[in-house]
Amino acid sequence: MEAASRDSPVAKTEKPETMTSTQHANVNDLLPLDKQAALTQLGGDTELLSEIMDLFLDTLPDILGEIKEAVTSKDSNRLQAAAHSLKGAASNICAEPTRAKAEALEEFGKSGQLDLMEPTFRELEVCIEKLKVSTETPHKK
C-alpha cells in the first residue's frame, strides 16, 4: 500500500486535492465565522461564546507561530499537532474556512506532503485575517 502511494504521485495528491477543492468551493462562499451556528452549538450561551472567542484570538498567535515554524522547518509531526489543535479550536467557533485549512495542513503533516504546506499555510493566513476582521466588527459594535 505504502509503496504504491510513494510510486504514484497522482494517488498521493488525489485525496487532499479533492478534499480541498470541494471544500474550497464551499469555503470561499462561507463566512469566515458563523456566529449563529457557533451559538447554537454552544446551546445559546452567548457569554461562553464571547469568552471562547477571546480565548481563541488570544491563543491564535501562538498556534500560528507554531504552525509557521513547523512549515518553515518542514517538521511534519509538529505541523500535524499544531494544525490539529487549531482545527479543533476553529471548529468550536464555527470558523469553517480556518478549520478546513487547518485540517488540510494536518493531513499534509500526517502524509508528509511538504510541497503543499507552504501554499496552504498562506491560504490559512488569509482565512485568519478575514476571521479577525469579522470578529472585530461585532466587537466594535
Binding site: Q41, L55, T59, G88, A89, S91
Partner: protein, 883 residues
C-alpha cells in the same frame, strides 16, 4: 450522593476546548478539574480520583491514548470511565480509543448538550458499578458472617450449652477418633465415667438453678483436673465421661482420683447427700486398647462407677474392682451366717483356733455336740482368712501354744470390717484378773480357762451365738431400711425419666441400668416380642455378649422367659434346675449355673415383655423384698414401654393411613397399581447413587433416605382435589383442564402442611411437602408452580421428578402407550439440564440396569388396564412430544 459532588477531569491542550467543557459541566452542577497536557492529567486523576475523565486524544507530549493506558493500569484509577474527545470521527481513531479502554467518545466541535448527556450516562454507570461493588462487599461480609454463625452453630451442637463440655454425640465422635489412633499406634487409653452423687436430691432440695450452677462448677473442676489432651464430655444429666489418651489403668486412675478430689474440694454444700455435707462424685475407671471395642471399655468404666456407688460413693473404682463383692460386704456374710443355722442354738458355726492337736480334738468334741459346724485353724496367721471364708457365728481361740497369740488374733479380727462383729471366746491355760481384762479390752467377749467343763463352753457359745443373732437382726433391719429407701429413690428417679421420655431405646436403656442397680445384678436383659409375636428377643442388656443377644430367641410359652411372658407371673430359677431347660433353647449356659429371676414387664392384662436379672454379687438368691421391688419396677416400666410402643404404632398407623391416601389419590382405588412402589424404589436408587459422590454424601444420610422413602409416595397426594372428569379423562387435556391439573402440586403441599400442623416435628412430612410442591419444577426454571431453578429446587424433589417421569414413560397411561426402557432412558437423558438436574441424570445412568429390572419386576399386573394411571404428567414435553 448528589451530582453536585461528582467530579469530572477535563484534559485538553487547547484552552478553548477546556473552557467549553468546564463551563458546560459546571453549569450542570459538576465539579471540574482541568489539565492541559497528558502528564498533568495522570497526576490529577491519581490525586483527585474523578468520577469521569474527558480526555483529548491528540495532545503534544503524552497523548490521550497513552494517558488512558496509564490510568487503566493503575488499580486506583482503572475503574474511572474515560470519554475521549476527538477532533474527527475517524473510525480508526475511535477503535483505538475504545481499545485503549475508553468508555465513550465525543467529537469536535464540542456540543455541550451532547457532552452532558454522555457524561451523565458514564456517571450513572459509575455509580451503579460502585453500588454493585459495595453490595458485593456487603454480601461477602454477610457470607463471612453466615459462615461464622454456622461455625458457632456447629460448635453449639457439639458443645453442651450448660457445661461447655462436648455433648454425648460429639464426645463419641472425638473418642472414636482417639480410639482409632490408639488402635493404629497400638497404645492404651483410659475411660473415666463419673456421676455426681445424689444429684437428684440436690436439685430437689436446692432447685434446678442451683443444680445447673453445680454442674457448671463440677465441669470446670473436671476440666482443670484433667490434662489438656483428655477428652471430656457430658454423658447425660449429671454423668460425665472422660477419655484419657495414652494411659493405662493406673494412669487413668490417677486422673480420676484428682478429679474426685477436685470436686470434693469445691465444697458445694449438699444437704441431701448421705455421703458428705458437700457435693461428691463416684467414678469408675477402665482402660482399653485397639483389641477391644470402645463401647466395651466405656461400659466397663460404667460398671466400675456403679461399684463406686455401691461401695459408698465419693470413690474411684477400676474395672478390676468390678468383681469384688460390693458395698454390702460387711452385711452379706452375716446374712449367710444367719441362714446357715437353724432356730436352735446347736446350729451355730464355730471357728476353732488351736495349734495343739490334743486340745483341738478335745474342744472340737465338746463344741460339736452342742453346736452345728466347727472349722479349725492351727495358726493365728490364717485366722482372718478363715473367718472371712466361713463366716462363723462364734470364734473360739485356744491360747495354749506359741503359734497362737490370742491378742494378735483378736486385733486382726476386730480391724476387719467383715469380722469385727464376730463374738470371740478365748480359752487360756491360766486366766487371772489382769490377763482377762487385757483380752476383753482387746475385743474378746469371754475368757475361759482350759479347765472349764464342757457345759461351760457350750453355754458360753450358746450365749454368744444369741448375741450374734441379735446383732445380725439389727444389722439386717438397718440394711433393709437402707435398701428400702435406696430402692424407692431409684424407682422415683426412673418414673421421672420414663415420664419424660418417648424414645424406646433410651427408656429401655434406663430401665436396664436401674434394674441392675436395684437388684445388684451384673447381667440384665430385657426381652420384647418380635414383629410376628412368635419369639421373645433381647432388645436391651447389660453384661451379655452380642453373640448371645443375636442367638437368643425364646418361643412364646416356652422356657422361663416365654412362660413368664404368657402367664404374667415372676419365676425364680435356682442353679442347675430349670436353668438347664433354658440352656436347650439358648444353646448357651448363660443362666444355667446361677440364680435368675425372670419378671414380666407390665400388668397382668398387658404384659409387654420380660426382664431377666442374674449374676448377683456372691450369687446370693433374690429375697422376697427384692422380688417385690423388681416386680413393682417392672410394672412401672411396663406402662412406660406400653406408652411408647403405642405412640410408635400410632405413628405407623398414621404413616399407613397417609400412604393409603396417597394411593387413593393416584388411583382413586386403593388396591391397584404399583406406581408409587416403583417411584419410591427408583428414588431410593437415585439417592443411593448420588450419596456416593462427594457433593451429596453429607446431604444424603440415613435419615434422608428414611424420610425420602416415606415422603415420595405422597408426591401426588394433591390429586385428591382434582375432579375425576379431569384426572381420569382419556386423551389429552385442554388448557383449562391442564391448569386445574397443575394445582395438584400446591394442593398436595397444603394437605401435607395441615398434617404437619397436627403432628409437628415429623421430619419426613416436611420433605413430603417439598416433594409434593416442587416435583414439577424444572432445573432450568421453566417448571411450575414456582419456577424455581437449579439447586434452589429441594434435592428430594429433583430426585422424585426423574423417578416419576421415568415411570410415566415406561408404563401405559390414559394418554400414551408404555415405552421401552431404552426409549425412555434416551428421552430422560435428553432433558438433562433443562427439565432434570444433570447430577440426578448421572445417577440414573449409573443405575440404569436396576431401573430396567425394577420396571420389569414391579410391572403393573395388567399393563393394558389403563384405569390404574391418571393424568398428572401430561404437561411433560417428554410425553407430549412422543404422542
Amino acid at each position: 450522593m448528589t451530582e453536585a459532588a461528582t467530579r469530572i477531569l477535563v484534559v485538553d491542550d487547547n484552552p478553548v476546548n477546556v473552557r467549553i467543557l468546564t463551563r458546560s459541566l459546571q453549569k450542570a452542577g459538576y465539579e471540574v478539574s482541568e489539565a492541559y497536557d497528558g502528564f498533568r492529567a495522570v497526576d490529577i486523576a491519581t490525586e483527585v480520583l474523578p468520577d469521569v475523565i474527558l480526555l483529548d486524544i491528540m495532545m503534544p507530549g503524552r497523548n490521550g491514548l497513552e494517558v488512558c493506558s496509564i490510568l487503566k493500569a493503575q488499580p486506583s484509577t482503572s475503574h474511572i470511565p474515560i470519554i475521549f474527545v476527538t477532533a474527527q470521527s475517524d473510525p480508526e481513531e475511535v477503535v483505538k480509543a475504545f481499545t485503549a479502554g475508553g468508555s465513550d467518545y465525543v467529537s469536535k466541535p464540542l456540543r455541550p448538550a451532547e457532552i452532558l448527556a454522555r457524561v451523565s450516562v458514564q456517571v450513572r454507570l459509575r455509580k451503579a458499578e460502585q453500588e454493585l461493588v459495595s453490595r458485593n462487599e456487603m454480601s461477602e461480609n454477610l457470607a463471612t458472617e453466615l459462615a461464622k454463625t454456622n461455625e458457632e452453630l456447629a460448635l453449639l451442637s457439639r458443645v453442651d450449652p450448660l457445661t461447655k463440655l462436648l455433648n454425648r454425640r460429639a464426645w463419641g465422635e472425638a473418642a472414636n477418633q482417639e480410639y482409632d489412633r490408639a488402635r493404629r499406634n497400638n497404645t492404651e487409653y483410659g475411660i473415666i465415667m463419673m456421676d455426681v452423687d445424689y444429684f437428684k436430691r440436690f436439685n430437689d432440695t436446692l432447685g434446678h438453678q442451683a443444680g445447673d450452677e453445680c454442674l457448671k462448677k463440677v465441669a470446670a473442676a473436671v476440666t482443670t483436673a484433667s490434662r489438656t489432651m483428655d477428652i471430656i464430655g457430658r454423658y447425660g444429666g449429671e454423668e460425665f465421661v472422660i477419655l484419657i489418651p495414652e494411659a493405662d489403668l493406673g494412669g487413668a486412675h490417677i486422673v480420676a482420683e484428682r478429679i474426685r478430689t477436685a470436686i470434693w474440694e469445691l465444697s458445694i454444700e449438699h444437704p441431701g447427700s448421705e455421703v458428705d455435707t458437700v457435693v461428691t462424685a463416684s467414678l469408675g475407671v477402665a482402660s482399653g486398647d485397639g483389641s477391644v471395642p470402645l463401647n466395651r471399655t466405656i461400659s466397663q468404666a460404667d460398671d466400675a462407677m456403679y461399684v463406686s456407688k455401691k461401695k459408698g460413693r465419693n470413690l474411684v473404682s477400676t474395672s478390676q474392682d468390678t468383681f469384688e463383692p460390693p458395698e454390702k460386704k460387711c452385711i452379706q456374710p452375716s446374712t449367710t451366717r444367719k441362714s446357715a443355722v437353724g432356730e436352735n442354738s446347736t446350729g451355730a458355726k464355730v471357728l476353732l483356733v488351736c495349734a495343739n492337736q490334743a486340745d483341738a480334738t478335745r474342744f472340737e468334741q465338746d463344741i460339736a455336740s452342742e453346736c452345728g459346724q466347727v472349722f479349725r485353724v492351727s495358726s493365728d496367721d490364717a485366722v482372718l482368712k478363715r473367718a472371712m471364708d466361713h463366716n462363723p457365728n462364734v470364734i473360739v481361740i485356744v491360747d495354749s501354744s506359741p503359734q497362737v497369740n490370742s491378742t494378735k488374733c483378736i486385733r486382726s479380727l476386730k480391724r476387719n470390717a467383715v469380722t469385727n462383729n464376730m463374738p470371740i471366746v478365748v480359752i487360756a491355760e491360766d486366766v487371772d484378773v489382769d490377763n482377762k481384762q487385757s483380752l476383753i479390752d482387746a475385743g474378746a467377749d469371754e475368757c475361759l480357762t482350759q479347765e472349764c467343763t464342757k457345759e461351760t463352753i457350750a453355754r458360753c457359745i450358746r450365749l454368744l451365738y444369741r448375741v450374734d443373732r441379735v446383732q445380725l437382726d439389727l444389722l439386717e433391719s438397718y440394711q433393709w431400711r437402707g435398701e428400702h429407701s435406696r430402692s424407692l429413690n431409684l424407682l422415683v428417679d426412673l418414673c421421672d425419666v420414663l415420664a419424660s421420655n418417648s424414645n424406646l431405646e433410651e427408656a429401655l436403656q434406663r430401665i436396664a441400668v436401674t434394674a441392675a442397680e436395684l437388684a445388684c445384678c451384673r447381667r440384665i436383659s430385657i426381652m420384647l416380642p418380635d414383629a410376628e409375636r412368635k419369639y421373645l428377643r433381647i432388645v436391651e442388656s447389660i453384661g451379655i455378649s452380642d453373640e448371645v443377644i443375636e442367638k437368643t430367641k425364646i418361643p412364646m410359652g416356652s422356657a422361663v422367659a416365654g412362660k413368664v411372658y404368657e402367664t404374667g407371673s415372676t419365676k425364680h430359677t435356682e442353679p442347675d434346675t430349670q436353668a438347664i431347660s433354658v440352656d436347650q433353647y439358648h444353646g448357651t449356659k448363660v443362666f444355667a449355673s446361677i440364680p435368675l429371676i425372670c419378671v414380666p414387664i407390665g400388668f397382668e392384662s398387658r404384659i409387654v415383655g420380660v426382664l431377666n436379672l442374674t449374676d448377683r454379687a456372691d450369687d446370693k438368691p433374690f429375697t422376697d423384698q427384692e422380688s417385690e421391688y423388681v416386680e413393682l419396677f417392672c410394672k412401672i416400666s411396663g406402662s412406660a414401654i406400653h406408652g411408647i410402643l403405642s405412640e410408635m404404632s400410632r405413628d405407623e398407623a398414621r404413616d399407613s393411613i397417609m400412604l393409603g391416601l396417597a394411593k387413593l389419590a393416584e388411583h382413586r382405588d386403593t388396591d391397584t397399581g404399583k406406581h408409587l412402589d416403583r417411584v419410591t424404589q427408583y428414588c431410593q436408587m437415585l439417592a443411593e447413587e448420588l450419596a456416593k459422590s462427594k457433593k451429596y454424601e453429607s446431604q444424603i444420610d440415613e435419615a434422608f433416605m428414611a424420610d425420602l422413602e416415606r415422603a415420595v409416595p405422597l408426591h401426588d397426594i394433591g390429586k385428591v382435589a382434582i375432579p375425576d372428569s379431569i384426572l381420569l379423562k382419556p386423551g389429552k387435556l385442554n388448557e383449562a383442564e391442564l391448569s386445574v391439573m397443575k394445582t395438584h402440586a400446591e394442593m398436595g403441599t397444603a394437605t401435607i402442611r395441615s398434617i404437619i400442623e397436627s403432628a409437628p416435628g415429623v421430619t419426613f412430612l416436611e420433605m413430603a411437602a417439598e416433594v409434593a410442591n416442587f416435583h414439577h419444577e424444572w432445573f432450568d426454571g421453566n417448571g411450575y408452580p414456582c419456577g424455581l431453578r437449579g439447586q434452589s429446587i429441594p434435592l428430594a424433589a429433583r430426585i422424585a421428578t426423574v423417578a416419576d417421569v421415568y415411570d410415566a414413560l415406561t408404563t401405559k397411561r390414559v394418554y400414551k402407550d408404555a415405552f421401552t426402557h431404552e426409549r425412555s432412558s434416551a428421552i430422560i437423558t435428553e432433558l438433562s439440564g433443562t427439565q432434570f438436574d444433570p447430577d440426578v441424570i448421572e445417577a440414573f445412568l449409573g443405575r440404569e440396569n436396576d431401573f430396567a429390572t425394577l420396571a420389569h419386576e414391579l410391572a403393573d399386573d395388567d399393563p393394558c388396564e389403563s384405569k390404574t394411571v391418571t393424568h398428572g404428567l401430561t404437561d411433560q414435553p417428554a410425553l407430549i412430544e412422543q404422542e
